[in-house]
């Protein structure tokens, strides 16, 4: 049995025995058509976490960049990862925005706009889902480069993103440590992109999983570069330079998540063979070592302060 089918059966069992009974009990069966997809997101997310752990943990133990006396600061990142990857944040965001999204798309459709897909924009792609998927991956990574780069350019936006940079004990768990408002902005960003080019074909969840794995790996505390492939995929060394203390804030480098091409094209790439300490010296201590709630609260306050300051000047 293929891995795909195996995951579908597990997700089906979760849907049948866990999610649907809850929906049924509370009269929420209108979501019964989508709950199987949620279960799939959770199953793949959990598998991604396990896979990342299985690959990165031995590597971090073998060739760490930094040795830490205590790993306590990593715990909160584990919490972020589970919250994000095992589907809680994605599903809640989806539900919160569902009506806004459908109303907005409905209005556009009423005006005669039918959201395209890449295959309708480039008809030759139809029937070649793998190539289509690759092209989507490139475009979405490009969009993410600019989202990330802009989040470093606006004071208020960076006030949210600083949470991601505050971690001084950066590990493969750190990819998902983001302020929840920053997550919402990302969601809106990719919703807008989705309206322009449609959503990617979803029949390759293992590839999606692979891309997410690369994002986790790039944060890992491993003395690892990809040698000749350093210019093809974002390595732990490349992304560590983005997280370096000297690069925190408004003048950073290496914004790419999966592919370094955009940094190369827009001249923000730094391939130096150095391993620098990470963190944001200007960030309040709560952002680095505080609890989940403390980090979220501090981030929100900094965001509000940055907005207020902008209004006064």
């Amino acid at each position: 049995m293929g891995l795909d089918r195996c995951f579908s059966i597990i997700a089906g069992a979760i849907d049948q025995h866990l999610i649907l009974p809850v929906l049924y009990r509370f009269g929420w069966m209108e979501w019964g058509d989508l709950s199987f997809n949620w279960a799939l997101v959770c199953v793949y997310g959990l598998f991604a976490v396990i896979l990342t752990y299985a690959v990165c943990w031995p590597l971090e133990a073998w060739r760490p960049v930094e040795h830490w006396p205590s790993r306590k600061a990593v715990l909160v990142d584990i919490f972020y990862t589970l919250l994000n990857r095992v589907g809680v944040i994605p599903v809640v965001t989806f539900l919160l925005f569902y009506q806004v999204q459908t109303d907005f798309t409905g209005q556009l459709v009423d005006m005669g706009f039918i959201p395209p897909t890449l295959e309708t924009l480039i008809p030759g792609l139809f029937g070649h889902p793998l190539i289509t998927f690759g092209l989507y991956a490139l475009i979405l990574d490009f969009a993410d480069y600019w989202r990330h780069r802009l989040s470093h350019s606006f004071r208020a936006w960076y006030a949210l993103h600083a949470l991601h940079h505050a971690q001084r004990q950066m590990s493969f768990w750190s990819d998902d440590r983001n302020h929840i408002l920053d997550d919402f902005i990302s969601f809106l960003w990719f919703f807008a992109v989705g309206l322009a080019i449609g959503i990617p074909p979803l029949q390759f969840p293992l590839l999606i999983l692979g891309l997410r794995f690369m994002e986790s790996l790039s944060h890992a505390n491993i003395r690892l570069s990809f040698g000749p492939f350093e210019r093809l995929l974002v390595s732990p060394r490349f992304h560590r330079l983005h997280h370096a203390k000297r690069a925190a804030g408004r003048h950073s480098c290496n914004y790419g998540a999966v592919f370094p091409f955009w940094d190369m094209i827009f001249r923000t790439a730094d391939f130096s063979a150095v391993w620098l300490p990470t963190g944001d010296a200007k960030a309040p201590e709560a952002l680095a070592t505080g609890s989940y709630l403390a980090q979220q609260l501090t981030g929100a306050k900094m965001f509000a302060a940055a907005l207020a300051r902008r209004r006064h000047t």
């Binding site: 579908s8 009974p21 409905g106 309708t120 959503i199």
Partner: protein, 335 residues
């Protein structure tokens, strides 16, 4: 790319020349009938599996954009249209051979059906909360309604005067007058209504948030009686030959066989793996799309035993070309 016009050239040609159409329709009877096939809409795999019904092997897998789910036969039965909701398209195939005939772009088609008088193609856009009526020959939008949240299933009165749509997110059933294209009524019907079927002058509606179906007076939407079938009653089908009703129960994981007159449950079949839409072959075997199992089950209703055929991810709708031998209206619910 094939345009709206060429994709659906046959119905257009037929509409333009009804006399010629009749001779064209008569012609295939002389040629040897193609081997019967089943088309399975893999909603998570963006593809349609083509199964040789005799060997029970998948002989081809055809691409769609994103999420194929349901089907409708064009009035001349020369094309099967498969809806692709998040791909915003209708894909046309030859229903005998599965030859792709192109696609048209329309917004968010989920469930769809031609009115019995072949005037409109009614489309429920579940995600956008739209009920759309398209001209059956040109596929131009004639009228759009926002009757409530998540319109899911639909059916018509056989005289084409009325259409009925379950509103899954509004716990309501809506009816439209197809002559004036106005809403007739919208009534509360129960928690999360799903499958809708016109049956002997009444309407049967599955109540997915409940444990069975309700019988409704199509004149005013009044509920006449209820019948328990299983938890999460999702869709209802009518076996023209065997005079039986089948209800799939999503939460119970069962398929209930009902007496068409008394609506009493005669038998419950256990179908694990997320049973969804069904088809019935000439031997009376039931072909069931099993969402999670990524298989089609072929069940003998006499014994309840079944064989399985692996298909793509999340199979949803299923079409058996053997139904083309039937005369009269063929829909996904009347098998």
């Amino acid at each position: 790319m094939i345009t709206r016009r060429t994709a659906l050239s046959l119905p257009l040609a037929l509409a333009a020349a009804p006399a010629a159409a009749q001779t064209m329709l008569a012609a295939p009877a002389a040629a040897p009938a193609p081997a019967p096939i089943a088309l399975v809409m893999n909603s998570g795999g963006a593809s349609v599996s083509v199964i040789d019904m005799t060997s029970r092997q998948v002989i081809n897998t055809l691409p769609t954009y994103r999420e194929p789910s349901h089907w409708a036969l064009t009035p001349d039965k020369r094309e099967i249209l498969i809806s692709d909701a998040s791909g915003n398209a209708l894909f046309a195939f030859n229903p005998h051979t599965a030859k792709p005939l192109g696609h048209v772009r329309i917004a968010d088609p989920y469930q769809l059906g031609y009115t019995p008088d072949h005037r409109y193609l009614a489309v429920n856009a579940l995600r956008l909360d739209h009920v759309d009526f398209y001209d059956a020959t040109t596929l131009k939008l004639v009228k759009r309604f926002n009757p409530g949240k998540k319109p899911s299933h639909l059916d018509f009165s056989p005289n084409s005067r009325w259409s009925f749509h379950s509103l899954q997110g509004s716990n309501a059933l809506a009816s439209f007058d197809l002559t004036s294209l106005k809403m007739r009524w919208r009534v509360p019907i129960g928690n999360t209504p799903a499958g809708v079927l016109w049956h002997r002058g009444r309407l049967l509606v599955c109540i997915m948030g409940g444990n069975g179906i309700v019988e409704v007076d199509p004149r005013n939407g009044r509920i006449l009686r209820g019948q328990a079938t299983g938890r999460g009653a999702h869709n209802i089908f009518y076996d023209e030959a065997g005079q039986r009703l089948y209800v799939s129960n999503r939460l119970g994981g069962t398929l209930s066989a009902l007496d068409p007159v008394t609506l009493q449950v005669q038998r419950n079949y256990r179908i694990p793996g997320g049973p969804d839409d069904i088809g019935i072959d000439p031997a009376g075997r039931i072909w069931i799309a099993r969402r999670f199992a990524e298989e089609v089950a072929v069940m003998d209703p006499a014994t309840g035993d079944y064989d399985t055929i692996p298909v793509g991810r999340s199979p949803h709708g299923i079409f058996l070309s053997t139904c083309l031998r039937q005369t009269g209206e063929i829909t996904a619910e009347r098998l």
